[in-house]
Symmetry: C2
Subunit: 201 residues, 2 copies
């Protein structure tokens, strides 16, 4: 039943191809856009084009940036001896929000996943190794890959590659989320929490 005007149908299908946007939401968004001020709709479209044109990967850390080297990599006040390895640019934002970490990042843009045919050469791993070779100041790699099977495998893989060069590899802690009670934790999380216990001094 596609009695939509073709340009509306096209807009709905384009919006519906975005992640987490089903047909109903796409329809609601399309009608909202059609109701918008023409200048606002154009601004939305231009924001998409502009972001696509300006943004590329940082030559050092592979995070998204509109400069040659991103703001974090070129910030001399940060700790250049530590590199936190994450899977995606949104993980960098999540880490920055904690205000706990003042080192640098490396964005892999994915995780090794044999199931999805993603091998070590499909993520930005080679860039990390090259970067380590040309950055003798780095003394620690913090592996903040996601706590999934793929993330774990990738973290272990990187640790195996990096350790021979004498650089420390650490993995962020996994355990009970802060503010949560044991009762609601799944057994894998709880198992990790016990495994990763720390001595109270």
């Amino acid at each position: 039943m596609s009695r939509y005007v073709s340009s509306i149908a096209k807009l709905i299908s384009k919006l519906g191809s975005l992640p987490g946007i089903g047909h109903k939401t796409a329809q609601r968004l399309a009608f909202h856009i059609l109701n918008m001020d023409p200048a606002a709709a154009r601004a939305l479209a231009e924001a998409i084009i502009e972001a696509k044109e300006r943004v590329h990967l940082c030559a050092r850390c592979c995070d998204l940036t509109d400069r040659e080297v991103c703001e974090i990599c070129s910030d001399e006040s940060r700790d250049h001896t530590k590199i936190c390895v994450v899977e995606s640019p949104s993980d960098v934002i999540a880490m920055e929000r904690t205000r706990e970490y003042r080192g640098l990042y490396h964005v892999l843009h994915g995780a090794i996943s044999p199931m999805e045919n993603i091998g070590p050469e499909d993520i930005h791993l080679r860039d990390l190794l090259q970067r380590l070779q040309s950055s003798p100041e780095v003394d620690e790699i913090i592996l903040a890959n996601n706590a999934t099977v793929e993330g774990e495998a990738t973290a272990n893989y990187i640790a195996r590659l990096v350790r021979p060069s004498g650089i420390n590899c650490s993995r962020i802690a996994h355990g009970i989320p802060f503010g949560s009670s044991l009762e609601y934790a799944d057994e894998v999380t709880l198992g990790r929490a016990i495994e990763g216990r720390t001595l109270l001094l």
Copy 2:
């Protein structure tokens, strides 16, 4: 904490201004768009601009269309003696999906709402009255306004205006949704279901 690249921040803010899209979803969509094929991202942006440029209101029923008169209004096989009054273009699509109705539509683009300062002159009501004057074939107005306080008030207001001209005004039935049990119906719906009971013959 806005360490975003400015063009990413702009895209996130534009996406976040859409209905039902919060900051987190906007961020996820933005990163998805940045990961998209450049041609696909451009196609999305162009779909927005094209829909905005091509689509306008049908000269007769005020539904969205890219022609002078929309497909439904210009379809001679439909029943031109009935006009179903709805609040929005998405209601037309919902009605069409039932395949129960073969008449015409009139889209008000809203409902009278004194609380939000929306009066009869702010919705496409005058167009409906003018249309009725120039369409002597119309013998019934089906009021399919939403089952909200505003929708009810608008339906009653239209009925009061139209009835003197001898055209029948009907209101769609309100009651228990099909497939649902009485237990879960709220008291207003159940009250409407009793009020609107029909004799079994």
